[in-house]
């Protein structure tokens, strides 16, 4: 793993959205995560989010995508050990103490979770949710109410005054997610971690929430790591996309490149497995087996037991990321994938 971490320089040649020399919103490199019991969760994860950039992190359940996002805020599972490097706006997250982490969460980085209904304390008012975040950030008490009103107005909630006094159960899921977004952006963070923020919502509501999220992100210049299982969604809104499988990054590509020329067999298999509403009606092709977690994946390439291209050499080592077309793919035969 240590050897692979040295590959990071190669990543610079990758399709970065022209990062330049400004510091990144999020830099994860060579991150490995192991539970105290020895169960590995993540291996050699490298993810970068530039300022103002939208980066997708795509994978199926157990791929470790949410875990990666949480690690960026120092939210590790109990008893887990992390190695590698995680920096959020110059803060070394893995080395940071409690106070530094709290400081980071209050001002530099925010997170949005999948289910807005679970994210807001059901027995306290919407207003309490917003003021709690603002107060933690250090906004003076008398300015808080006004700022909360402003925030609700910004995320398009009618009658913000009334909304502040409402309880969460009086709101729809879409409205609540707007409130959560307002709370997350109230600190004007440099990094926004969005963990499946629209999965629990209806399709039409999803579009509205995404539109809001993109608008707000543009206005504040926030870098966003967008965690999702939905390849189409990631490709549609992200500048770059990382594809995760069994605790590892298997491919990094541009949003559009992912669809046009998937480099990794897993990415391609995912695309072929998902039906689409656009274009001609084509048959889908199922992937045999089921998604794995890092702990119960095979040696070498984790995907090799489900991969049509796998050979004996795939079992030997975990393939390094190598450039292919617009992508970086962790595969020994990326060339054979693209049709």
């Amino acid at each position: 793993m240590r050897v692979l971490a040295k590959k990071t320089p190669a990543r610079r040649e990758a399709p970065d959205g022209g990062a330049g020399d400004r510091r990144d919103a999020l830099g994860v490199s060579g991150l490995s995560l192991t539970l105290g019991t020895g169960v590995p969760l993540l291996a050699d994860v490298t993810v970068r989010v530039g300022r103002g950039e939208t980066v997708g992190l795509v994978g199926e359940s157990g791929s470790g995508k949410s875990l990666t996002a949480r690690t960026a805020l120092g939210m590790l599972p109990r008893g887990a050990r992390a190695t590698g490097e995680v920096t959020v706006a110059d803060v070394d997250v893995l080395a940071a103490g409690r106070r530094r982490l709290r400081e980071l969460r209050r001002t530099r980085a925010s997170m949005i979770f999948q289910d807005p209904r679970a994210s807001i304390n059901p027995v306290r008012r919407i207003g309490d949710y917003l003021t709690e975040g603002l107060r933690a950030r250090g906004v003076p008490a008398r300015a808080v109410a006004g700022r909360a009103l402003e925030l609700l107005d910004q995320v398009g909630i009618r009658d913000p005054g009334g909304a502040l006094r409402c309880f969460p159960h009086e709101f729809s899921g879409g409205m609540l997610q707007r409130v959560v977004i307002a709370g997350a952006l109230s600190t004007e963070p440099e990094l926004l971690l969005a963990d499946e923020p629209t999965t629990a919502l209806d399709v039409t509501t999803q579009a509205e929430v995404i539109a809001l999220l993109k608008d707000m992100q543009r206005a504040h210049g926030t870098g966003m790591l967008f965690v999702t299982h939905d390849l189409d969604l990631a490709a549609a809104i992200c500048d770059r996309v990382y594809v995760m499988y069994a605790g590892r990054i298997v491919e990094e590509s541009t949003g559009s490149g992912l669809f046009g020329a998937p480099a990794h067999p897993y990415t391609r298999a995912l695309l072929e497995a998902s039906p689409s509403v656009h274009g001609d009606r084509v048959a889908i092709r199922a992937i045999a087996g089921r998604p794995r977690s890092l702990a119960d994946s095979p040696t070498g390439c984790s995907f090799r037991d489900r991969c049509p291209l796998a050979g004996d050499d795939c079992a030997e080592t975990v393939p390094a990321h190598r450039p292919h077309g617009q992508s970086l793919a962790a595969c020994l035969r990326p060339g054979q994938v693209t049709p």
């Binding site: 169960v39 157990g62 949480r70 939210m75 599972p77 977690s293 702990a295 119960d296």
Partner: protein, 288 residues
């Protein structure tokens, strides 16, 4: 900060399957008590009623009286062994009666719903408003001391304790899709209730009954302690403690504390066992 990690969950599930030490100890203690009670005539070192004023209030470990003697010189160990019979049998009666009543009422309320459910639930609320010991005392006030009436009173009193849980689990379980899937497959309500609902309610019921057993044991022992339960020459642990009252004030507490300890250990054991059963159900329900 809890994350659901499949590997973690599998591990803890495996750990849960191994029986904890406390549960083994509890089971061992309960078996020991049952055997001691059943075989008291064979095993007891002394007659439980043999008084000897010369040997009164001996401390534990004195000569042939391992656990000492009470104020009339009766052997405490033998009396605990004989006392186990009534002390354990009576709460068992309470649990069996309240279990049967509770299942019937709980299932009926859950499956009938509507006004029948409302009436039954209100009825259970009313019974619940009587603390069990108070109801038992009320009955004793009418019938005079003895165990039969309090056993019946406690059985009624614990029916909501069982019935409420059966009802809520049955409603919860009844709302799970598999109940509906059986209906879609064309099975009748009664069949689904008895064949699928009841077995799934059963573990919770057993756990709850174990708790009820402990409470009933304490209630009946309390009655005897207050002189409202068993009548001499019958004896249970509660009446032993009651008879030790003056000895305690004289600074010779053993003949009262030892049966007290046995009551305590019995209730702890039953609770541990009940909790274990309840906990392993929770473990099975967890799953994705």
């Amino acid at each position: 900060m809890t994350l659901t990690i499949p590997a973690l969950r599998a591990r803890s599930a495996r750990r849960r399957r191994r029986r904890p030490l406390a549960v083994s100890l509890a089971v061992a203690f309960l078996i020991l008590l049952t055997v001691a009670g059943l075989l008291a005539p064979v095993l007891a070192p002394h007659s439980p009623d043999a008084t000897s004023l010369l040997n009164s209030l001996l401390p534990p470990g004195a000569g042939e009286h391992w656990l000492g003697t009470d104020s009339t010189g009766r052997d405490v160990l033998s009396r605990i062994m004989y006392g186990a019979r009534l002390s354990l049998l009576a709460p068992l009666g309470v649990v069996l009666l309240s279990g049967v009543l509770g299942i019937a009422i709980g299932l009926l309320a859950a499956r009938a719903g509507g006004w029948a459910d409302a009436v039954i639930s209100r009825g259970m609320d009313i019974v619940f408003a009587f603390p069990s010991l108070l109801l038992a005392m009320l009955v004793v006030a009418v019938t005079g001391p003895g165990l039969t009436a309090p056993i019946c009173a406690l059985a009624v009193s614990y029916t909501p304790f069982v019935g409420r849980v059966v009802r809520s689990v049955a409603i919860q379980e009844g709302a799970r899709p598999y109940m509906e899937s059986y209906r879609v497959m064309g099975f009748g309500v009664l069949w689904v209730t008895l064949r699928h609902l009841l077995p799934n309610v059963m573990p919770v019921l057993i756990a709850q009954s174990a708790l009820a057993f402990g409470y009933a044991l304490v209630d009946l022992a309390s009655l005897s302690y207050l002189g409202l339960g068993v009548r001499p020459p019958d004896a249970d642990w509660g009446s032993m403690i009651s008879q030790a009252r003056s000895a305690i004030l004289q600074g010779e507490p053993w003949s009262g504390l030892l049966p007290g300890l046995v009551v305590l250990l019995t209730v702890v054991s039953v609770n541990v066992l009940g909790e274990h059963i309840g906990g392993s159900i929770a473990g099975k329900r967890e799953g994705s």
